[in-house]
C-alpha cells in the first residue's frame, strides 16, 4: 500500500512554497561579525600560549573556533526565530524573512558544530576540542535555551560562551588550561555585561517587545547604570592582570590601566548623565577597549617584544 500523497511538487520539480535560501543566507546564519571577534580572541590565545603549533594545524584550530562559533549562531537563529522576527535589528535574518526553514538552519548548525569539534580534536588535541564543545553547548543550551528568556542575568552567565575562545586557542597549543588563559577568559567575561547593557539601554524597547528580559527592561535604567559601573570597576584592574601574571609586558599593563580608567570614566559619565548618546559612546568604546588590549598582547608576541 502506498502512503497518501500530502504534497504535490509542481511540474518544474521545485516546491514553489518551500524556502529557498541562497549560499549567502547560510553565511548570514554564521553571524560573521561575531565570528570575526571570536577568531581574533582565539588567535590571541593561540599565539600567547607556551609552546608552538605547526602553522597548518594552527590555521585549522582557528578555522574550527570560527566554525564552532558560527554553528552556535546558526542554532541560536533556529531557536530564536520568533524573537528575531519582532526586533528591527534581526527581522531580515534568513528564517524570520522566510528565506530559510528552521529545520535547514538547525541541520546546518548541528553538522558544523559536530564537524568543528571533531576536526579540532583530530588536528590539535581533545582538551581544545572539549572546550570548543563546551562553548557551543554553553551558548546553545545554557544561554539561548535557558537563560536568555528567563533572567536579566542572561548575558552575565551567557557571556562565558564568548569568553572561551582564547582559552580554546591556548589549549590547542599547550593542551591544558593555565592561569594565563583563565585571565584572558576573565577579561572577556567581565567586559561582556557593561558592553551589552550599554546597548541594551538604547534598545530597551525592542527587547521589551520581543519579551527578552534584558536588565534595562526588567530592572530599569538606574539599576542598569549601577551594574555597568560595578562591572567597570571590576574590569579596569582586571585589564592589567595579564601583565601581573607575566603573559604581557609592563608597558601593556600601563596602557591597559589607562584604557580601563577611560572605560570607568565613561561609565561614570553615563551614570551621571544618562542618555542614548553617552550609552552608545560607552558601547563603541567598549569594543575599541577589548580590541586594543588583545591587539597589544597579540602584537607583543608576534613582534617578539614579550615572550
Amino acid at each position: 500500500m502506498s502512503a497518501p500523497t500530502t504534497h504535490r511538487w509542481p511540474a518544474s520539480g521545485f516546491d514553489a512554497l518551500a524556502p529557498n535560501p541562497s549560499a549567502a543566507d547560510f553565511v548570514t546564519l554564521l553571524k560573521p561579525r561575531v565570528m570575526s571577534l571570536v577568531v581574533f580572541t582565539g588567535l590571541t590565545g593561540l599565539v600567547m600560549a607556551p609552546g608552538a603549533l605547526h602553522p597548518v594545524l594552527a590555521l585549522v584550530a582557528i578555522l574550527c573556533i570560527a566554525i564552532g562559533a558560527g554553528a552556535s549562531g546558526a542554532i541560536n537563529m533556529w531557536y530564536d526565530a520568533d524573537i528575531d522576527a519582532v526586533m528591527e535589528r534581526t527581522a531580515d535574518r534568513p528564517i524570520p524573512a522566510g528565506r530559510m526553514s528552521r529545520e535547514q538552519a538547525l541541520t546546518f548548525g548541528v553538522i558544523l558544530a559536530v564537524g568543528s569539534v571533531a576536526v579540532m580534536g583530530l588536528a590539535t588535541n581533545w582538551v581544545a576540542a572539549a572546550l570548543l564543545a563546551l562553548t557551543i553547548g554553553f551558548y546553545v543550551f545554557v544561554y539561548t535555551m535557558f537563560l536568555k528568556r528567563r533572567t536579566p542575568q542572561n548575558i552575565v552567565i551567557g557571556g562565558a560562551a564568548g569568553a572561551f575562545p582564547p582559552m580554546i586557542g591556548w589549549a590547542a597549543v599547550s593542551g591544558d588550561v593555565a592561569i594565563g588563559s583563565v585571565v584572558l577568559f576573565a577579561l572577556i567575561f567581565f567586559w561582556t555585561p557593561p558592553h551589552f547593557w550599554a546597548l541594551g539601554l538604547v534598545k530597551a524597547k525592542e527587547y521589551a517587545r520581543a519579551g527578552v528580559p534584558m536588565l534595562p527592561v526588567v530592572a530599569g535604567e538606574k539599576a542598569t547604570l549601577r551594574q555597568i559601573l560595578l562591572y567597570s570597576v571590576i574590569l579596569a584592574p582586571l585589564g592589567v592582570l595579564p601583565a601581573v601574571v607575566g603573559i604581557a609586558s609592563p608597558a601593556y599593563g600601563v596602557a591597559a590601566g589607562v584604557l580601563g580608567l577611560v572605560f570607568l570614566a565613561l561609565a561614570i559619565r553615563l551614570a551621571v548623565r544618562p542618555g542614548n548618546k553617552l550609552a552608545m559612546g560607552l558601547f563603541g568604546y567598549s569594543i575599541a577597549y577589548l580590541f586594543l588590549l588583545f591587539a597589544w598582547m597579540l602584537g607583543e608576541r608576534l613582534l617578539g617584544v614579550w615572550a
Binding site: F14, P21, A23, A52, V60, L63, L122
Partner: protein
C-alpha cells in the same frame, strides 16, 4: 521550448549557487584533511 517561470529561474539560480558553494566546501575539507594528515605524519611540530 516552453517559457520558464521567472520565479522558477530564480529558484534554479539559487540552487545552483548553493551547489557550487557546497562543492567548494567539500573540496576545502578534502584539502584540509590532506594537509592535516601530511603534517601529523611529520610529527605535527612547528618548523
Amino acid at each position: 521550448m516552453a517559457n520558464r517561470d521567472p520565479a522558477d529561474v530564480e529558484r534554479r539560480k539559487r540552487q545552483r549557487s548553493r551547489n557550487l558553494a557546497l562543492l567548494a566546501v567539500l573540496i576545502g575539507v578534502i584539502v584540509l584533511f590532506y594537509l592535516m594528515t601530511i603534517v601529523q605524519f611529520g610529527g605535527g611540530e612547528a618548523p
